[in-house]
């Protein structure tokens, strides 16, 4: 089912736009991938002796898969709060450029900063990817309502998945657990690849993958940041050089 055309009266109400956003969780394969990922996080949290309430709170308030996996594994393996906080914050740096690039797509001259707080919170890899796909088909003045619907819909799916994963944990075989953990890189890689619109995007993706193993050899402790900054800047250089 496709979204209504841009000039359709369906877009006249914000509530309708919210509902279109919420129902759009059925229009992306990433919802299934998130479901499976958060099934895995629920199981991981159970095995690491965190409570179900803690797990659900981490999904609602952190809302970033990689950060949650890092938090659970580091705290579970006996790291200090400070060590966990540093690992989480390094993984979360990517949220800064994501928020910066996503917000202009839904801002209108009337939009106040406080209207964007919830969208900033909901912004994570999946929402960032889907904004580029969905928003061109949503009238600008309804984009905020649409994204609130889509984002809260995805959070709800993940809270349900957490609960199921937590309760299933005892029955998850190592084979299935490995399969669930593999879903994340596969889905993130392919959805980013599909979203590559310009050469700069392709260069950033490929170089980001290739430079990471090299960055780990430097042993700085900030591997993802180093490879990301270098690969992203080279990709921007390619973009600039082609335009010049």
């Amino acid at each position: 089912m496709a979204l209504p055309p841009l000039d359709s009266p369906q877009w006249n109400s914000s509530l309708r736009a919210f509902a279109w956003g919420a129902s759009s969780i059925t229009r992306t394969v990433l919802t299934m991938v998130l479901f499976a990922t958060y099934l895995g996080i629920g199981a991981l949290a159970h095995d690491t002796k965190f409570s179900l309430g803690w797990t659900l709170a981490s999904t609602a308030f952190v809302w970033a898969g990689p950060a949650q996996i890092i938090l659970i594994t580091t705290l579970g393996s006996g790291a200090t709060i400070v060590q966990s906080a540093i690992a989480v914050t390094v993984s979360a740096i990517r949220l800064f450029p994501m928020v910066v690039s996503v917000l202009p797509m839904m801002r209108t001259p009337q939009t106040k900063r406080r209207h964007l707080i919830l969208v900033a919170h909901l912004t994570a890899i999946t929402l960032w990817v889907e904004c580029y796909r969905f928003l061109p088909h949503v009238p600008r003045e309804r984009r905020l309502a649409f994204i609130h619907g889509l984002g809260l819909g995805l959070v709800t799916v993940c809270l349900i998945a957490n609960t199921i994963g937590y309760l299933l944990a005892a029955n998850l075989t190592p084979l299935l657990a490995a399969g669930i953990l593999m879903l994340t890189p596969l889905a993130f890689l392919l959805s980013t690849a599909r979203n590559c619109r310009e050469l700069a995007d392709v260069v950033a993706l490929v170089l980001g993958l290739v430079l990471f193993p090299l960055a780990t050899k430097l042993g700085s402790g900030f591997d993802i940041l180093v490879s990301g900054l270098v690969a992203g800047t080279i990709a921007y250089g390619v973009h600039w050089w082609r335009r010049a």
Partner: protein, 114 residues
């Protein structure tokens, strides 16, 4: 109910080690991103860095696998990613086909190796 929440200290730890270090970057984005134009050159660079950092997260899970994924041999993990990408390319850029193919390679390979 106390079982559902568990230890209150753990919730405090969640906020100090998880929520704040994570949210701070979103709030920076909200504070400093407001003035940036959608078509600006700065945004092209920022987007490229975000894409490359995401690529790094993907690479980290594959090269330094967490938990149960670490029990899968390196070559099998790389083969699964390659198979998934080839299926994605050859079947009309379908994410579903790519993910399914990668998973089939990983699961049957792991099952066969025991």
């Amino acid at each position: 109910m106390s079982n559902f929440i568990g230890d209150w200290h753990a919730l405090v730890t969640l906020f100090i080690a998880g929520v704040i270090p994570n949210q701070i970057w979103r709030m920076f984005g909200l504070l400093f991103g407001s003035g940036i134009d959608e078509g600006s050159e700065l945004l092209v660079w920022v987007r490229a860095v975000a894409t490359a950092i995401l690529a790094g997260v993907i690479a980290q899970i594959v090269f330094q696998p967490p938990g149960a994924l670490a029990s899968v041999p390196d070559a099998l993990r790389y083969s699964a990613v390659l198979a998934g990408f080839l299926a994605f390319i050859s079947i009309r850029k379908s994410i579903f086909a790519g993910v399914a193919c990668g998973e089939i390679v990983l699961l049957t390979g792991k099952w066969w190796l025991g």
